[in-house]
Structure formats: structure tokens, C-alpha cells
Symmetry: C2
Subunit: 437 residues, 2 copies
């Protein structure tokens, strides 16, 4: 047997506890399989009581994560604290400088400081592995860094936030409005008390940042991701999309375009009979288009103690097997700058929902505004206003659903701005991109 | 830069040509990324003319694959000949004994001789990688060997043969019979002139053998796989399944049961709105249930020159990065025997199609035979016989579709045997398992 691999675990929250359960369940078998014992050489958490409740009070305890990161005898520092500055950042830096491998589930830290940390890891000849930082139990980092390494990736996209997907799925299944489902998700623990980070698309943007870097060999560029959340999606949109044969999903999409990388997290329409439309509830998925491998899709649990622990353990085992890969596959010095594509040049079809006021010529004027911008319509459906929803004394505004032929975003935005100014709609127009899969 | 990695390629058919295209397209970039040049040190094929048509006539040519496998200066022997005996087997053995790493796409060789070859690789401290042997461009071997290595796998299943899936998809979409679609698939090059290996489920059985070994840490056991092909699936089955909310797919399924491993390749019914039901045409998919990672599904191209070449290249890159893994993850000496579960103990629901003769009491007798075996029915639909299909002078037999509640296979087989003996059906009963996803 080779000498043992000694790990230090900082952070004993959900993922940290999951990792302890996994090592408890499979540690002995794994050690035998890989011919190398995996030993916990130290743990660290905010509250020492945590070690007792987890039954690991006999393990060496560290009050300070940075001290654990540097401790002699530790081969791998496992950072499960979370957060993009302060202690976790300092501890990861300290570990790398001390030539310890690092395994982390910290998407925020990597999306912000990934290039600096990768450079540190490369300079010190150690691994910085972060499978658990994106899409929990789905091995998408390994797939990009290793399985598809010989491909030029054209596009990567996916459902990267389980909270949003749960809410959209429930809105669809039960025909309920956003806020009601959000409340239920919070009660069930699927959404945080402050849900803005998930609902607003920011969590998915962090993950997309890492995926885009790996896929395109570019520097991580969180600020270059265009973000819209799901808070503007109404039950009316879900229903109208369904009638047209679509589902609404919050997708992160990064693709190569002639003018740069288009990276965005937005609600989009996808065909109801597509595989991605079947991805329901808190499940995540990632699709990758490679020039040789073709189109791959990976579906699985995007979060949770056990699935995330499985990803962390896979990173640890890779280190145990030896062989050092640059964190972003391409050595940092070779990573190209992320050139951001102009989203106003985005090409695609659009779903538009307008609350059209009851006024002669309103529809004709709307159609003309579209035509002026060269936007042609695939379909236009005027729906009967629901009784009881009118707040005005006159006839209630009628929802009109437009599906456009492919056009560009500048044209559609100009047309909608003009329509709004004309006073033919009583609410801000709803615009959702239709994703070409 | 590290010293170059020199590969020898035996076999210049579809996959071999695909690999040359890939190295032509991405070789220079890859060498730079991994800091190591990848050099083709020799090629070998049946017909030397092939090297000329591929524009590689300047590369060292070997008439004998075994000689190439042993050639000094070759670090990795890439076996793309195919076949489970003779030259490919001897060449792979020669390479391993000469301490060369081996990359192969040869599922037949590994399903039959995997344990022996893995032991050779381990004894010589080299890699034997076979990502391309199962499901083409889908990185399922890597996912099992590395990403899910810390999991106990409960079940692995998937659509492992593109030809069968193409035929079933077309039968579904066009409502055409099996033989008509098979002919079209042959004309399009999606099915071989002799389709028995694909259609009969044997190709999928070879792949399932390798997946089961990796998933359960057991010796590869091709003979332990129960195999049924799709040749018995009629347009009537596809139509009836559709009406009941199902699709028919040829699945390979291997699962742990209390009595051993149940490994089977059979047509099954899956719910129409499941992700696996959306996997259409020649696309493959593999689903894996891990105790920590949860349920993962990977979808992608299962064959083709480029996708398979992407998998071969990923295996070569893993070798370039260093670190040696046992071919079946668990060292061969630790692989347990594959204990075959008794399929007659299979638990599940069944779809049954009977051609019931027009005779008083026939249906009642059928229902009694089911009841005698403790099989209860979820639904029974008697369909109107299609006019013009009757070959008898009397009333034509009426198709009756039964869906059972979960039962075991012994009971259902006994009931069907009794029904057949009673003379109440004019054809052998059709029985298709309903897969619980």
C-alpha cells in the first residue's frame, strides 16, 4: 500500500457532514480499492460542538482554518466553508502556497478568484479541484476537463439552480403564482429565507462562469454574465407557453459567437418534448456541444449533502490516484481573456406577452411597430381576459401572446420600447427568449 | 515540456480515421495545453492503401499489429481493429506485456477477456482504457471509474444500442412495422447488412457486461446477461403502449438484488414523459443510481467516427497526464464473482398483448389463469380487431392488452403458459416488462 492520503476538512455544514457520512460508509472499501488509506488529519468549524454532534470529537481539532490548511501532515485541504473572501480565501491560498492539494465546493470563491488560485496551484504543482462547485452530483467539471478535453466546445447550457427549477416546475404543475410557490419552497427548505441569490439567477451565473472558462479556455469572468431571474415569470406566461408547446426554464447558456462569448442566465422557452423540459423539480442538468463528441447531456441532483459529498470524494480520489491537472485544464498563462459578445446581437426567436388596452387600432399599431424593426411573427394569439381580473372600469386589457420568427435582440427591444411608448399596453411587455436546443 | 507521448494506432476504419481527424484538428492545441506533444509513432491496418487515402503514408507503417504493439518507442497502443480473438487479442496482450498503455474501443474483447487483460495491465503498471467501448461519446466509463468511485451503485441502465433505438423511434413516429423500418435503417447505414448482433440485443449485452463489472466491482460476465431483442416488437405493441402512456425502448439493465445481480437486455415499457423516453433515434443514454450521488443520467451519441474518436482521445489524454487506474477500478484480484440473480424472481409490472379467439368465456378464463398465479390487473383493454386483418373465416381474434400490477416473472410466465395451452389465444402472448425508473 502507498502511504496514506491525509485530508483536513474545514467546514462541517451540510456538505462537510455529507463527506463524513460518505467516508464512514465507504472509506474502508475505498482505501482497499485504491490501495491507499484515506485519513482525516484534522477538522475545523465555527462551533466545536459540531464535531461532538457528528461523533468526530476524537479527531484533531483546529479553531483556525488557515492553521489547518498549513498543518504539517495534511496532504489535501478540503474547503467547505463557502464565501468569496475572508477566511475561506485566505485558507485556500495558504494551503496552495504550502503545496497542499485543495478540494473545494466554493463556486463564489472560484468565480471571483479562480485565475489567481489556479495560478497558485500550478506554480506549486498541486491540484485545485472543484467538482462540487457546479451542479452538485453531476460530474460536469470532470467531463469538461477530461472526457471532452479533445473537443472544441461550441456551447454549454443547463439548469444550474434547483430552487428556480423547483419553483417553475410547481408553477407549471399546479398553475400557481410565483410568490405562493416560493413560500412553499422556503417552507420545504428548497429555498433560502433570503432567496434573492437563487431566484435572481446569481447562483447560476457563478456556476456558468466556471463552466464557460473550462469550455472555452478563457479567464473566469463573472461580470460578463448577463443575468435575469425568474421573479418576473407569471402564471400567465407558464400557461401561455404550455399552450404553445413550451416549458419555461431558467437556463445558463454560454456560447461562442463571432463577436465573443455570449454568457447569460435567463428564463427561456424550451420545447415541451425536449429532454431538458423533462428535468423537473430540484434536478439540474448540463448540456455540452463538442465538435467531436457531439451533444452530451448530463442530468442529476444539483445539490444536497450526499450528492455534493460524492463530488468532493471524487476530487479527493483523483488526487489519491496521482497525476496533476491544471484547475481550468488550460494552464492559466494560456487562458485567453473572456471577450463578451454584445447581447443586443443575440439571434433567436422570442415569446412576447402584452396586456393590450381595449382601443381601436391597438393591435394594428403593435404589429406595425414590430414590422418597422423587421420582426416578423410566427403566431399571435389574443386570449380572452379572465373575468374578475380587471381593475379598470372599462374593458380589461387582453393578454396577447406573440411568438416571433428569429430576429435579433436589438430589434425586439426597440419594437417593445415603441409599443410601450404608444400607450397600447397597460403593463411592461413580457419578453422571454426561445432557446434553440 | 515533458517528453512526447508516442501512440501506435492499429486499425484505420471508422474510429481510426476519426482519431486521425481529431489529432489533425486539435493535436497542436492539445499538446500545448497538456504540455506534452502527442506523436503518432506508427500505424497498422489490413490494407496499406488506407494510409495513402488518409494522407498519412509518411508515418511508420506496420503490417503486423503485434509488431506495432511491441515496437520500441511506442508508449500507447491504440487498438481499433475489433473482434474478441485473434490479432486484436494477441496485440493487446503483447502491448501490455511490453509495458505499453493500451486504449481500445473493443467491447467484445473486453466483455470476454476483460479480467485477464486487466490483470496483465495491473501487473505491468500500465493503463488499459476503454471509454470508447461503451456508448461512444458518452463518458460513462470515466463516470463510473472516477466520478462515482465513492458510491455504491444500486442500478445502471440505459439505451446502449443506437440501431435498435432508431428502429423503435421510427416505428413509433411513423406507425410502421419492424421489417420496413429495419430495411430503411440498413439503407441509411444505421443498421448492418447482418443486423442480428444489434437487433438481437447482443451488442447491448456486451456493453452492459462492462458497465455491470465497473458498477458492482464484479468480474465481467457476458454469459450472465439475459438477452431479448426487438424483433418481436410489433406496430401493435408500439401503438398500444402509446395509448397507455408508454414508449417501448430496448434497455440494458443491471441491478443488485438480494439474490445476486440481475443483468438483462430486453425491450421494456417506460413512461412516455420520462427523460429516457425522449432519447430518440441513434442517441444513447446511461442512467446510474449511486447511494450518495443519487440518480445521474448521461445522454449523447452512442456511435460514429467523431464521437468515438473523442472518447479514444480522452483515454490517451488521461495517460498523458499520468496516474494509473486499474481498468475496472477495483483491482482484478479484488473483483468479486458475478452472482447471477434468478430472473424468474424479477419483480415488476408487465404489459401483455393477447390475440384472444372469439369464443364464449375466453376472457373470463384468461382472467382466472392470471388470478390463479396471484397476478392482479391494473387495466384490461379489448381493442376492436382491425378490419381486413382476419385470415380466418370466423370472427378475427381481438387484441387484448393487459397491464399487471407488480408481480414476479415466474407467476406471469406460468399464467401465460396456461393461457396458451387453454387455446384461448391464436398467437404466442406478447410479454414486455414495464421498467420502474
Amino acid at each position: 500500500m502507498k502511504h496514506p492520503l491525509t485530508i483536513g476538512i474545514a467546514g462541517l455544514g451540510t456538505v462537510g457532514s455529507g463527506l463524513l457520512s460518505l467516508l464512514e460508509a465507504h472509506g474502508a472499501r475505498l482505501s482497499q480499492t485504491i490501495g491507499r488509506k484515506i485519513v482525516i488529519g484534522g477538522v475545523c468549524a465555527r462551533d466545536r460542538e459540531r464535531a461532538r454532534t457528528l461523533g468526530i470529537e476524537a479527531l484533531p481539532w483546529f479553531d483556525d482554518a488557515i492553521e489547518l490548511a498549513r498543518a504539517p501532515g495534511i496532504d489535501v485541504f478540503v474547503e467547505l466553508i463557502g464565501g468569496d473572501e475572508g477566511v475561506p480565501r485566505a485558507a485556500v491560498e495558504a494551503a496552495l502556497k504550502a503545496k497542499k492539494h485543495v478540494v473545494t465546493a466554493n463556486k463564489a470563491l472560484l468565480a471571483k478568484h479562480g485565475a489567481t488560485l489556479a495560478a497558485l496551484a500550478e506554480a506549486n504543482g498541486v491540484e485545485l479541484n472543484f467538482e462540487a462547485a457546479v451542479a452538485g452530483g453531476i460530474p460536469v467539471i470532470k467531463t469538461l476537463r477530461e472526457a471532452l478535453a479533445a473537443n472544441e466546445i461550441q456551447r454549454i447550457y443547463g439548469i444550474l439552480n434547483g430552487t428556480c427549477n423547483y419553483i417553475l416546475t410547481k408553477m407549471q404543475e399546479d398553475g400557481r403564482p410565483f410568490l405562493s410557490v416560493l413560500g412553499e419552497a422556503q417552507a420545504k427548505g428548497y429555498a433560502e429565507a433570503d432567496p434573492a441569490f437563487d431566484i435572481g439567477g446569481f447562483d447560476a451565473a457563478h456556476k456558468l462562469t466556471l463552466l464557460a472558462s473550462l469550455a472555452f479556455g478563457t479567464l473566469p469572468a463573472l461580470d460578463a454574465v448577463y443575468v435575469e431571474g425568474i421573479q418576473t415569470i407569471s402564471a400567465a406566461d407558464i400557461e401561455a407557453a404550455d399552450e404553445l408547446g413550451y416549458r419555461i426554464k431558467l437556463l445558463g447558456v454560454a456560447s461562442r459567437t463571432p463577436s465573443g462569448i455570449e454568457a447569460r442566465v435567463t428564463p427561456v422557452l424550451v420545447p415541451r418534448n425536449s429532454a431538458i423540459a423533462q428535468v423537473a423539480g430540484v434536478t439540474n442538468c448540463v448540456a455540452i456541444d463538442g465538435d467531436f463528441a457531439g451533444s452530451l447531456m448530463l442530468i442529476g441532483p444539483g445539490a444536497g449533502a450526499r450528492a455534493t459529498a460524492s463530488a468532493v470524494a471524487s476530487d479527493i480520489l483523483d488526487i489519491a490516484h496521482g497525476g496533476v491537472l491544471p484547475p481550468f485544464l488550460t494552464p492559466v498563462a494560456q487562458l485567453r481573456p473572456h471577450i463578451r459578445a454584445d447581447l443586443s446581437q443575440h439571434q433567436g426567436a422570442y415569446y412576447i406577452r402584452l396586456s393590450v388596452v381595449d382601443k381601436p387600432g391597438a393591435l394594428a399599431s403593435i404589429a406595425k411597430r414590430m414590422g418597422d424593426q423587421g420582426v416578423s411573427l410566427e403566431s399571435l394569439v389574443q386570449k380572452k381576459p379572465k373575468s374578475g381580473t380587471a381593475l379598470t372600469l372599462g374593458a380589461p386589457p387582453a393578454p396577447v401572446i406573440l411568438i416571433t420568427h428569429p430576429t435579433n435582440e436589438r430589434a425586439i427591444r426597440s419594437a417593445l420600447a415603441a409599443i410601450e411608448q404608444d400607450g397600447n399596453v397597460s403593463e411592461r411587455p413580457q419578453m422571454i427568449r426561445i432557446e434553440k436546443l
